[in-house]
Structures are given as C-alpha cells and as structure tokens.
C-alpha cells in the first residue's frame, strides 16, 4: 500500500509517496505554487505516480497539509503543518527537540517533548520580516538569484544592521544603503541576521537543544549560521528540509491506515 503526503505551501507544492508499511519513500517532487493549486497538485501527483509506475488505486490514504491544504481535492484529510513538520523532522532527526521552520510566507517554532510529540508552538505570519519573503524581496531588489544569496552573504565582511521591523520599510532602507555605496554582500548578510533576529524573538527563552532547521529557507546557505548566532544555540539543517512537511503528512497517512486497520 502506498500513502501520500501533500504539502501545499505558499511558494511550492511538495508531494511524498511512501510505502505505508515500511515508511520508505517511493517518490517525491515539487512544483511552484500557483492560482490553480488543485490542478497543479494533481498534475504533480500524476507525474510522480507515472514516474514510479504506481497506480492511483494503490494510493490508499492521502493527507494534505500547508497553507493551501483545504484546496487539495484528492486529499482524504488535512493536518496542520505544525504537526506534519514535527513528524517529518523527528523521522529524519530522531532526537530533535526544537524545530525552526521558515517558509515563504511564515515561520514557526515547534517544541517537542521527549517522545517527539508537539509540546507547543509559536508562529509568525503577520510580518514578512521573519520569512523567506524577505529574502525574495532583497534578491529582487539586488538583481540576484535567490539561490546565490548564501554564496554572496558568505563574502560579507561587515554585515549591515537592518533596523526596520517591516519588509516594506526594510526595502526602502536597502535602497538607501545601496545609494550610500554599501556592498550588496553586506546587505544580504544583514537581512539574514534580521530574519534570524525575528525568529529569536519568536522563540524567547524557549529553546532546547537539539535545534533543527527546516523549510525552504533552510536551503539558503548562511541562514543556519545566522540563526546560530541569534539564538546562541547550535542549529542543524534537516535532511531534505523543503520536503519535511510532506514527509510528515505521508507518515501520518500511514499511521491513520494503521489505526483504521487495528
């Protein structure tokens, strides 16, 4: 039996197909999010099925998560991304206690207990300053590809503090910095530090090791060190960070099959 986890995020849709009994990943993939997200999801789903020769009828349970979870018509049920990321990360990093998930439109801090269950969580979704959106804005403003931000930030010798609490104002601040001749590497490193500072404020004193970093922004090099510096804790990037939500959703689909069976 195959089960599937679909993470309909704000920027990308991720799908994991998994053997329900062994929790072995059969296929995984992602596509950009768009207006017709249900169609995009189905297209990606069909593509993954085809790539592995899996028939639709053999996918016995589908769990959707993420910002667009309620729009996924092929899902049997929905579970929030908090629970899915917790399950996905814990599967990959069994001793994880604190999870930082920074996505395109929001960021989350999830605390797990010793058994891996969610103890509690905090979310920032009213302000883009602690999210991947900030990186997108700065990349566009500096005329660079988002994938090269980490590489550029690594060259920074003097990261410039970004004082604005809001991305819109921060963009204006960046324009001013560019006009005054500040190196773009220093601006990028400053933006990374500003995002990390927002996450640190979200966390308060509520951080326990090990800290695992997940979500699409974990793929931007330099963000992990910015977080380490802001939090004062070591930060490990989760394997396959962009897929942990979908992975968790697939595992939960498998658990639901078990529960139904028993």
């Amino acid at each position: 039996m195959i089960c599937a986890g679909i993470d309909a995020g704000s920027r990308t849709i991720k799908i994991v197909l998994m053997e329900a009994d062994t929790l072995q990943v059969v296929a995984k993939g992602l596509t950009d999010q768009g207006v017709e997200q249900d169609k995009l999801t189905q297209k990606l789903f069909q593509r993954l099925l085809k790539s592995k020769g899996v028939k639709r009828k053999n996918v016995t349970r589908i769990v959707a998560t993420g910002y667009g979870r309620n729009a996924v018509s092929i899902a049997d049920t929905t579970i929030t991304e908090i629970t899915c990321h917790a399950v996905g990360v814990r599967h990959l990093v069994p001793n994880a206690v604190t999870i930082i998930d920074i996505g395109g439109e929001d960021s989350k801090l999830i605390h797990l207990d010793k058994s891996g269950k969610v103890r509690d969580f905090a979310m920032n979704d009213r302000c883009a300053a602690g999210t991947g959106r900030f990186l997108e804005v700065v990349a566009r403003r500096l005329g660079v590809d988002i994938g090269s931000l980490g590489e550029l930030a690594a060259k920074s010798r003097r990261p410039v503090p970004i004082s604005s609490m809001c991305v819109v104002f921060a963009e204006t601040e960046i324009i001013g910095l560019l006009a005054s001749g500040t190196q773009r590497e220093d601006i990028i490193a400053g933006v990374q530090a500003a995002i990390a500072a927002r996450i640190s404020a979200l966390a308060g004193r509520n951080i326990d090791n090990p800290v695992v970093f997940t979500g699409g922004v974990a793929l931007v090099s330099g963000m992990d060190t910015a977080l380490q510096s802001a939090l004062g804790h070591g930060v490990t990037i989760s394997p396959d960070p962009q897929m942990t939500g979908a992975l968790g959703a697939a595992i939960l689909a498998s658990n639901q099959l078990d529960e139904a069976g028993s």
Binding site: T80, T83, V118
Partner: protein, 460 residues
C-alpha cells in the same frame, strides 16, 4: 430544553423565533427576530452561529437592546453613569440607587466588529490622534462624538493608576475633548511587607491593609459623587442590598461556568458564554433582567447537562481562554476547529467572585477592586489562571491578544511561560483584531494545530 442543542444561523433564528411565538413561548418585550439588528447596521451578526435555545435568544436580544434601554432610562428621568475601566466595582454601587443606571462606554470596543467597520468610530479616533497603536476601546471616542450609540451620561467615572496605559490615554483624550471625568485611583497591588498588616482578598490574592484603606477612601469619594447625582444618601443597608443583588448575578454565573466548563458534552457554545460572562460587570444596564436572563440560561444548561445533551464531540480539546476577543466570530472558529472552552479569564475574574457580605460594604468593594487580576503583577494573574485551569481540567491555553492593548503586549508571554512551567500544557498566543476575515486561514491553522496537539498528547 427548547430543542436538540445546536448552532444555527441568523436566518434560521428568525424562522425559529416565529415558531417560538406560535408555540406561545413567553419572551420579554425586548425580544424579536435577531435580523432587525442587522437592519440597524450590526452586519457581523449574519456571520455568527448561535445557540438555538430560547434562553440564548433572550440573551442576544438583551445584549443588543442595551442602547434602547439606556435611552429609555434617560427618558424615564433616570440618571446615567458611565463607568470606565474598573470592570465590575462601580456598577455595584450605582445599582444600589433606585434612579441610577450604570453602563460601560468602553463596551463600544465591540461596535467596529459588530458593524464590520462601517460605524466610522475607529476613523474618528484616528483623526483624534488615537490610531491603531491603541486598543480598539478607542472606538469609544467616536461613540461619544457621534452620540449615535449611547446617550452621553450625566457622570463619567474612570479608574486610573494600575490600569492599561492605552486605555488611560484614550480616557484622557476623552477628557480633553470636554467630557468631564471623575477619576479614581486604583494602586498596583503589591505583596505586603513581612511586618505589614495584610488583607486576604476574595479570589486568593493578598494586599497591604493600607492599600485597601486607600481604595476605600477613593470609593467613598465616588459614592459621594453618586449620591449627589442621585440626590439620595446611600446608607450601608442599601449598599449591602446592592452587593447582595450583584452576588446573585455572580452566583448564577459561577454555577453556569462550572456546568458548562466541566460537563462531558459542552452544553453551551463559547460565544454565548462570553456574552453571559460579560453580564457580571455591566448588567447590560438592567441588573434585575440580567438575573432573569441568567436564570433562564442556567435552567437550559442544567437540563441539557442532565440529559447528556450538548455540542461538539466528547473529544473536543478542552481550552482555557485568556482575554476577550475583538471579533466575536473567533469563538465560533474555535469550535469549528474542534475546541471547546473550559475556563476563561476575560480580564475580570474578580467580578465573578462573590463579594464578601460579612464586611462593611465599602470595605468589601475595596477588597474586590484590589482583587482584580489586572491591577497586580502578571505573575499573580498567571497563578490565578493556573489554578482555574486545574479546577476546570483544561488541556491547553490560548492567550488572545487585543491589538494595541498595552497589557496584552506585556503579559502574554509572562502568563504563557508561567503556565507552561507550572502545568506543562501547550500554550498558544494569537492576536484577534476587530475583523479577522483576512487572517482566518492563519488563525485556523493555529487553532487546529493546538487541537491536534491536545489530541496527540492524550495518546499514551
């Protein structure tokens, strides 16, 4: 019990009301189809879901006709007292007089929600320099200036000192606009020194005796002003009788809270409980009718609980809720997400405690004013919340921030950390503006995630 418990839309309530009328179910004169309030501009009502009992309809109609009652009281020659910020003390005194009617102009903070921002009250406040960095209570300024909601009271009384900074600023702006305010000071409740005479307050906190004496002198000043307004001396016997009536309201609410928060199946939705609890402080401008409304509600709830009837599933996550919401729809949303309210601190838990009747009445009221969890430290408030969470068996805590409210910005994290450390339950902070429509998906995610967390924790 009027029907199988359920939650219905406004449109269904109108049909249901006709059925009640045909069946000859007696309803007070202020009752009628709820949709008439929509015609008056309360469009948010169209989006809420309501308890389907006749008792709940009466509660809603009672709430939504308060302005009519205030105008009628004025027409009948009664004197109006606008009490602000004290949350439950001055109205007890005011309702001890025969010809005074007290109400909270601060209650205008719900108008922007109920009228879905069509009231212009917030934009009036904006123009007065009190913008969105202040609590939605700033809507009160617009209500005073337009005169469209409540009659301007003969006397305005406001507590100041250990109260919200933003509210004090709003009230001072009102004062600056020419509305005379009689201020009285409530000091920050501090822990008495080791060698200092102390008083154990109702609800469990302690205060220095000197602080109680100070508050007593302040209340005596207010009492004199009320006597001048009423043209009547308020002796101890009359004030004691007023306290007794207030205690009747509090007793009814205590019983209601106990049954609703602890019954295996939730017998009354969160929204109606929020409205009912608020009656403890403002009596909706009619203390006698408040008692009748609560008695009817309690009877309904008892019948439901006895029959094992209620809403939601038995496995609904048991949530303790801190601070009232600016958008009433969020209470419906919690239930949609699989949660039920099992305990609340809507900023006035002291007004739900019984006022001592074995003390001189002014002493008793002074103690109650100082027992307000909001006038002490955040740690005090958190300890009361922790005790209530235990007694109601709640499994998680939601701290609902009111945008701009100074106490929310300061207290939320402190309360959350203390409760988390003491009880080990999940704590989530949310912010609820007057209209949540645009942020509902993210609010829903938080609430659903909390419910999932609670359910997962139940598994061994």
């Amino acid at each position: 019990m009027t029907d199988t418990p359920g939650q219905i839309t406004l449109q269904r309530w109108d049909k249901h009301f006709q059925q009640l009328q045909r069946a000859g179910v007696p309803q007070p004169s202020y009752c009628g189809p709820l949709s008439r309030h929509v015609e008056n501009g309360d469009t948010r009502l169209l989006k809420l879901r309501y308890d389907n009992s006749a008792a709940a309809l009466r509660l809603w109609n009672f709430l939504l006709t308060e302005e009519d009652r205030l105008h009628k009281a004025r027409g009948d020659g009664k004197k109006l007292v606008g009490t602000m910020k004290d949350l439950g003390t001055i109205p007890v005194m005011a309702y001890s007089f025969d010809n005074l009617v007290a109400f909270y102009p601060d209650g205008a903070w719900w108008i922007p929600c109920v009228m879905e921002l069509n009231s212009s009250l917030l934009s009036i406040a904006d123009k007065l320099g009190i913008d969105e960095s202040f609590c939605p209570v700033r809507a009160m300024l617009g209500a005073f200036l337009t005169g469209a909601h409540f009659p301007i009271p003969e006397l305005l009384v406001c507590s100041v000192g250990a109260t919200c900074d933003d509210f004090s600023a709003i009230a001072q702006r009102l004062n600056g606009l020419g509305y005379a305010i009689l201020w009285w000071e409530i000091p920050h409740r501090r822990t008495p020194e080791a060698d200092e005479p102390a008083v154990k307050l109702p609800g469990g906190f302690s205060a220095a005796k000197s602080q109680v004496e100070f508050v007593k002198s302040e209340l005596a000043r207010i009492k004199t002003a009320l006597e001048d307004l009423a043209g009547e001396h308020l002796d101890e016997k009359k004030l004691s009788a007023g306290i007794k009536k207030a205690n009747q309201v509090r007793s009814l609410l205590a019983e209601l809270r106990k049954i609703v928060f602890t019954a295996p199946l939730c017998p009354l939705p969160a929204l109606e409980m929020l409205i009912a609890e608020m009656l403890a402080i403002h009596f909706c401008s009619d203390q006698k009718e408040t008692i009748a409304v609560l008695q009817a509600l309690l009877e309904e709830v008892k019948t439901r609980a006895k029959a094992g009837a209620g809403f939601l599933s038995v496995d609904a996550a048991r949530i303790f809720w801190v601070n009232p919401v600016a958008d009433l729809q969020v209470m419906n949303l919690l239930e949609e997400c699989g949660g039920r309210i099992c305990g609340t601190d809507y900023l006035f838990t002291h007004a739900l405690d019984i006022i001592p009747q074995d003390l001189p009445p002014l002493e008793a009221l002074s103690q109650m004013a100082l027992a307000d969890p909001m006038v002490g430290s955040s740690a005090d408030r958190a300890s009361r919340i922790s005790a209530d969470i235990k007694s109601f068996g709640a499994e998680a805590l939601i701290i609902s921030r009111i945008p701009g409210a100074s106490h929310c910005a300061l207290e939320g994290r402190v309360i959350g950390e203390i409760v988390r450390d003491k009880l080990g339950i999940p704590v989530v902070e949310i912010e609820v503006p007057p209209l949540t429509d645009s942020i509902q998906p993210t609010l829903r995610t938080r609430l659903e995630a909390l419910v999932e967390t609670v359910r997962e924790r139940r598994k061994k």
